[in-house]
């Protein structure tokens, strides 16, 4: 979802993000109840058929599955060992179909559309005192800053390699955490400056 969105005008793109998220939840529930391997193959093919419908290629589908590949193999082998090949292949097909469906949702919905849908979905909680707008902003910030933190991590690693230091978790973690915290402070200031909420600095000066 971080960098996945592909703008487009396909019928899948035009569907409301909320409908796609609800569809994903329903598909997940439905797949849970399908046990027959042949039926699961049909489900997987049906999900794959959505990719060209959304103007996406099968390469995009493979790219969606790639990060999951190791987990998928481990899951199938573990099930094969414990429950036999039929259960194993069913589990693998079910998970692959679900991830591919989730891929369709994120590839065809912009972050703001997703956030808007989540905000709408959570809006009843507002009556219980939950600040839905803040939850939505937090999700957006996560999407925005994960690549940035990854870039900072790469920068720190590069600087350490340049100084002859091999991979060290502590040596990486300390500067990364310090820089991330400093970045967090500036981001909080920027969010205030751009008019989100008014409570943080309306009180006494935080520095005194």
């Amino acid at each position: 979802m971080i960098a996945a969105y592909r703008p487009g005008t396909s019928i899948v793109h035009r569907l409301p993000a909320g409908a796609k998220i609800v569809g994903l939840a329903m598909a997940g529930t439905f797949l849970f109840f399908v046990a027959n391997v042949a039926s699961l193959v049909v489900c997987l093919l049906a999900v794959l058929a959505l990719y060209p419908l959304a103007g996406l290629s099968l390469r995009d589908a493979l790219a969606t599955l790639r990060p999951l590949f190791v987990i998928l193999v481990i899951l199938v082998l573990a099930h094969a060992w414990l429950n036999g090949w039929e259960v194993a292949s069913g589990s693998g097909l079910r998970l692959a179909a679900l991830v591919l469906f989730a891929g369709i949702v994120t590839l065809t919905s912009s972050a703001s559309a997703m956030m808007g849908a989540i905000e709408t979905g959570l809006s009843p909680l507002g009556r219980l005192g939950v600040d839905v707008e803040k939850i939505s902003l937090a999700l957006s910030l996560a999407l925005r800053f994960i690549p940035m933190i990854a870039a900072v991590g790469a920068e720190v690693r590069e600087a350490q390699r340049a100084r002859g230091l091999d991979t060290s978790l502590v040596a990486l973690a300390v500067p990364l955490i310090v820089r991330t915290l400093k970045m967090g402070e500036e981001i909080a200031d920027a969010i205030d400056a751009r008019g989100f909420g008014t409570t943080r600095k309306d009180g006494p000066d935080r520095s005194t």
Binding site: S140, D189, D192, A193, G195, K201
Partner: protein
Amino acid sequence: MIRFSGVSHRFGEREVLTPFSLELAERRIAVIGANGSGKSTFARLINGLLMPSAGQVWVDDLDTKSNGKAVRGLVGFVFQNPDNQIVYPVVEEDIAFGLKNLKVEKGEIAGRVAASLARFGLSHLAKEQAHRLSGGEKQMLAIAGVTITQPRYIVFDEPTTLLDLRNKRLVARTIDRLDETAIVITHDLDLIADFDRVLVFEEGRIDFDGAPRDAIARYLELMA
């Protein structure tokens, strides 16, 4: 007009701004000075990101201490590192952030975002991921995100520090063309040559206040 009345500021025991009073009414105002001289603290006092330890800051007769929301509506703030002020992952979504905070209608948001993208030469990047933009494009996006809410004043905190010469010039031209009053904290002396007024900060006090040429001469003297 922005007015400082007997303002000082401390971080714990350390006094970073000694008491001063000042009125800012010019269209282009620059603040220069050494690192740690109090420039950024001064900038943050203007839109209520920091409250003065003593005294009052007034923006168009609104006290920043008691009118935080209204003051932030009047004063936009562009930070040194645009990466730390771009909130949404996609360019057009980030520009819309300020308008959403003001609860502007969706239809109006779309129109104003399109106009802002065109104004800052970002239309071709509307759907682009913000983290993939160049430094200059990110700074343009940061300025677009701030100006879209139509503030009366914009504070720029070292807007050209992280940029190459071409992008520095682009930002300078952009600031020059803004309708809003600009208060620019900077080390970039070329940027402020045509400004109306320049303040030179030194060790937490205003050492000089006047025309760019004289202010730059004083700054160079201090830096010698």
